[in-house]
Symmetry: C2
Subunit: 888 residues, 2 copies
Amino acid sequence: MSTTTTQPLVYFFGQGRADGSAAMKDVLGGKGAALAEMTSIGVSVPPGFTIASTLCQTYLQTRAFPGGLQSQVQACLHRVEAATRRQFGAETNPLLVSVRSGAALSMPGMMETILNLGLNDATVVALERESGNPRFAWDSYRRFVQMYAAVVYDVPKERFEALLDERKKARNVARDIDLPVDDLAALVSAFKSLIEQETGHGFPEDPMEQLWGAIAAVFESWNTKRAIDYRKLHDIPHSLGTAVNVMAMVFGNTGEDSGTGVAFTRDPSTGENVLYGEFLLNAQGEDVVSGTRDPQPIAALAETMPKAHAELEQMAKRLERHFRDVQDMEFTVERGTLYMLQTRRAQRTGHAAVRIACDMVGDGSISEEEAVARVPPNDLDQLLHPTIDPSAELDLLTTGLPASPGAASGTVVFDADDAERIGRAGDAVILVRRETSPEDFHGMVVAKAILTARGGMTSHAAVVARGMGKPCVAGAQGLVVDEAAKMFSVNGRSIREGEWITIDGTRGHVHAGQAALIAPELSDNFLRLMTWADRLRHLKVRVNADTPADAHRGREFGAEGIGLCRTEHMFFEGTRLQAMREMIVAQDSAGRQAALQKLLPMQRSDFEGIFRAMEGCPVTIRLLDPPLHEFLPTEQEEITKLAHELGKPVDEMKRIIDGLSEVNPMLGLRGCRLAIIYPEIPAMQTRAIFEAACTVASRKGQVLPEIMIPLTASVAELRQQARIVRDTAETVFQEREITVPYLLGTMIELPRAALTADEIAQESDFFSFGTNDLTQTTWGLSRDDCGRFLPHYLDHHLIEADPFQVLDQVGVGRLVRMGVELGRKARPDLKIGICGEHGGEPSSVVFCDQLGLNYVSCSPFRVPIARLAAAQAALSARGTMDRTKATL
Amino acid sequence: MSTTTTQPLVYFFGQGRADGSAAMKDVLGGKGAALAEMTSIGVSVPPGFTIASTLCQTYLQTRAFPGGLQSQVQACLHRVEAATRRQFGAETNPLLVSVRSGAALSMPGMMETILNLGLNDATVVALERESGNPRFAWDSYRRFVQMYAAVVYDVPKERFEALLDERKKARNVARDIDLPVDDLAALVSAFKSLIEQETGHGFPEDPMEQLWGAIAAVFESWNTKRAIDYRKLHDIPHSLGTAVNVMAMVFGNTGEDSGTGVAFTRDPSTGENVLYGEFLLNAQGEDVVSGTRDPQPIAALAETMPKAHAELEQMAKRLERHFRDVQDMEFTVERGTLYMLQTRRAQRTGHAAVRIACDMVGDGSISEEEAVARVPPNDLDQLLHPTIDPSAELDLLTTGLPASPGAASGTVVFDADDAERIGRAGDAVILVRRETSPEDFHGMVVAKAILTARGGMTSHAAVVARGMGKPCVAGAQGLVVDEAAKMFSVNGRSIREGEWITIDGTRGHVHAGQAALIAPELSDNFLRLMTWADRLRHLKVRVNADTPADAHRGREFGAEGIGLCRTEHMFFEGTRLQAMREMIVAQDSAGRQAALQKLLPMQRSDFEGIFRAMEGCPVTIRLLDPPLHEFLPTEQEEITKLAHELGKPVDEMKRIIDGLSEVNPMLGLRGCRLAIIYPEIPAMQTRAIFEAACTVASRKGQVLPEIMIPLTASVAELRQQARIVRDTAETVFQEREITVPYLLGTMIELPRAALTADEIAQESDFFSFGTNDLTQTTWGLSRDDCGRFLPHYLDHHLIEADPFQVLDQVGVGRLVRMGVELGRKARPDLKIGICGEHGGEPSSVVFCDQLGLNYVSCSPFRVPIARLAAAQAALSARGTMDRTKATL
């Protein structure tokens, strides 16, 4: 089968002219496009040509090259010969080439490369002669035969390594290069025999046959199992195909005036504007990669080859200016002459990303918009939390859920009292528990980090840790905690009280020992970037904060209000917990009211503190949400204690606690259902809110309370709750002789609420999408239980991302969209936000912006991430986000 | 304020002519419309007039009568005077009237009636003279004053009763009527003094003043608390208002040639075509209602007043023919002359409804369509299950969830072994457990009914009982079961082993003692009605059946296939349970496969039996759905036993069982998630299905298996499962050298499945909506836990109906509609059914028909209900359902 087409199949580059350009990445692949562009702008690149990636699929389906390819390759090869004044296969001045793969999307290490192609028994002699370096010539030949056999004929590499090792052993030398030339020549023969033996045919002496074999092999490498798996994992379409780059060889291994290396135009760790990288003298590219020799820092090049170094610095500047972003380059110096072999956009740390973006705005390279567009929002996490030093050697014990970000080291303790005792003494401790409960709170306050064996991203440990900004890994796999023996075991290892571990809550890793940490830093660059972001975004960003301390921290990070103040966490401390329990255990309304009366002043002062911290900003307060049994003890000892404290028989206490247990608490008596059954609770809570608001307002503070009803499923529930809130507000306003404006709205966290948002909007001033619970119910997926199968789903690509981390736009997103549309149809001025943890996840923030939400709300440390993501969302909406992306 | 309108405000009826008609129920109310219609068709009705219900709201808002009303009332009153040759307020031949309320929708006993209006100190003398019956005259006056005071002036009735009782005590008589005339006259005076004393003004002697007071009072009675509550409860709009019927009095209490009664044109219990009812000689209507005297059966009237009886029979026939439905009539005989005072459509039992509908088709009164339209589908339940005799005296112990319909009596037992021992001996037993588990199965088989203290409509007890067609009440409120002591206590009472109770699973009632039951009966009439229904309906009706026995029963009831065969119930018996547990406890794939190998032949023979029972019909088989921990024991003793049986240490067994426990099992590792983690399970199940199908097919049986994947949330899951099913099918077809056509589809039981139905349809031949689980997730409502608040919601009208019984069309229905539309858009030939229990609930069946579903599926005993509901749905769709409704 043959294909005829007017599009060129092969694209030449060399001598300052190229058929392709950076814009043609789809056809030329990333590498081919970069080579073409570099050539065009006068960077010194060895000449060569790129076979279009569009031919890959045709080849793989037919196992034949399309008509016209052969003549185009031939023509390009002649141009390379002309440019290099060498001839392919000639016995004088033979042209040698490299053959490399290169797809439009980077697949590092997944496909094949062959160097020194064109060598055979005749050309090797020419190379030996011309270089005056027999060892170089024969070592190149030896490498080529070995590489070719592995790539084209699939002969296992170990077979060649074994022959090589045998030879080195016989000569008692350690390095390949130390073998005598004769041995290298003998090895070439031995390799060829091995090929004959393995494949039944000889090694092709004809360079053209070598070339076509290599081109075919590169195409074939697109469909190796590892390449397919990699594409599946990274969502790269299988139809893309790889291009094939054929380029004249330059040699970094011809002597001490040659070398090869990689360089970054700026330091990718710190962002500092200095040439950064490393090189190896007298080496080919694969020596750098294989790590058999220690490379030197790039600065050393200034001494050994000052001219090449100066030239490299100049190239780096030129490439960075041209591509308008930091570049990651490969280069070779052949007998003092610099050749650039590759350039691409450099990966960088969060610190570097921010600094580079700001520096480039400073020197006029890019605009503020571009700077905002270029920093991946999640990278800011590194600036806000301690992180493990990337160079630290780690001893991974296990992984779990990344329940609260940041890293911390400490000695392990197994109960809250020990944590308090040792922690208060000034030692760093990490609290390890099977799971935490309200009784552990005082220990969590002093611990540097929390580790639990059970529970999910919304477990007590996770929620409290995030609130405190402490690292937490929850539901760690295989972790068996023996709290009595003060030890835990995991994967066959045991860690006892007092031993050090390091928690990486951002990744969900648990390491043995004390790893080096990098402290967070709110640099001027960070603040500058945030200012630019704030100017661009439309979405407001609020913070989820339950305490005045959280509220302050949120404001520091730029929050414009509280989007979710969970009142239940206020009940988990000391006296409050006791009063709460008294309320729950009371079996009639009078008893409940008496207990609630004790809670009222505490709630009021909580709200006063929060209103003061947030003066002038809206504060959304969610009324009591969790099932009551969460406030009660589960351990026999605690139950007995509580019974004594409340003057009830232990049996009765047990019966009350048992009576509150539920088969599926997530779907049980919680949220507004509780408030409907026990109207005393919302009455007390709203009274506390409005009394606090009146107090602050009467001292000229601006308070903007927004009362939020949780777990609404129907407008009837909301209507009933609204009556309690409005009546209480009226009463308090009359008592205090002052009126405070307020809003009344609801969480949209059940599918039915989104489905009937038109009805619910009639009773709501605002909606706040609780996408955590909405994800649980839409998927029918308990966050506390999915640890047993979600990892398998992710591994097997049955799900793209953890839907609790990245909003599932296809499913849950459809419901959110419906809720927004129905809600605004019924009430065009409806204020809409999101307060699930997706509110701080960049792709979800962009989605919220697209849906026209008014704000997102997230935990304090994610506020800057949300601000940046919101700015990028605004750029996307204008269509300028893509334009600001670097070309390569 | 006054209103002018061209519509008449008052509608006269009398002497064979009426301004109104039966069609004017909205204006005249039910009673007024019936009186007008009866008058028009020549039925003997005392003359009178109806004041339009449309005036009620105007009056209530303004407390004034609109302009023109007075003159229209006056004009009508003159016509009544002319018709009766009496005069209102005259001292000779005075006209007395009754004033009655009557809204468009019946609100029995909710509003007011005043009889004998027009009596005063002058007219009573005329009545005494003309009737020649002073006692009658003064007793009528006495009653009128009392009634008027109560209705118009709100004087408590007890005050009058006290005076009356005092007088009777003084005379030592038991009945009012036995008081001497003088005492009655004295009572009138005493009553009037009481009125003066209570209200500050006298009793109105002017009949016109009496009349306007009464009219106003009837309007006012629309807004009494009990009337408002009643309307709230029955969804009657408050804006409707009541009409006022003013009618010339006729007297059933003038002597032994008079009387009053109620009659049905047919027996409302059995449907037998005989005049049915009862009457009281020498009495007014309220005497019948008050129950102070025992009425006689209507047949007795034939002897005492043959002429009136013959006339009544004739009227009954005429009314039934005219209104084309069985009538419930009120009548009075005054000195031998029959007057009809009211007629309306008669309430009837299920048995009667079916028989009447068939009889009326038989005698040509109505069409087959009308017969189908008239029987409320749920009434069929009475024909299919034993029911408690409506006349039985009951001793209600408690209520719970109506988990499985039907009634049964038996002596209580508290464990399955006792149930088996005593039950096998031939005694009727009722198994009472805190909750049931698979170990109780053998006891459930012999028990007549099941009662549990915990668990919901989908608990083990409920599901198994429904499958067996046994009555079950689950989650009974306040029930404390002491299994060790063999007793239960509830609401302060204790019932011990051996004592009788009666379970009403249709209503969720538990009664002490042995109540009289009515046996079910599949009459010829029933079968005839079903035949007509089947001719009309478009929706197919399938049965949810897990065993060959269920499948047979379903076919007997007219099922056209199995819509849901739950494979897990097959695992709950003896050896199977053991093998299942072995599979679960196995910690690797090999162990699981070995255990599954034991299950394979059992599953295969199950499926063979089911395919044979359902030959020629489609059989939808759902692969394993519940979480694995449901198969494991929870009691320490059972765990120890299992550990010994499987040769594992008890500790390890406990650890395995603990490891499988979940916080929210409803949202955990179940459905296709299980099958994805343990692909051996679906592989075994599909092999069993296809081997069975091949066996039956190879013997020329027609098998139509439809494999159904449970709990699909995303197309990726379905695709993965489809691969296992299709591969297994191919393998089996090759082994057996025969191919069986089959379908592959999925449950739509998670919101996300409905939301992404377009994607999911690409991999599905059919959808089956699992509306039980869909309701749980859409509402975020656990069926097992909502018992603590759903009753409160229902009582306080925060929800219209239990969404697990009646499909929530507004919320869940919106998702179902979306699933249907998206699914059919992607795949127009998609077969769609519903297999939640809503599939047998009439209003939900109509909704399914509207959405264009292909079939509904329900438990065997609900199949006839679904067939009838489906027929009614088809009639609704044609717009003929309303037309076939009786006018009154």
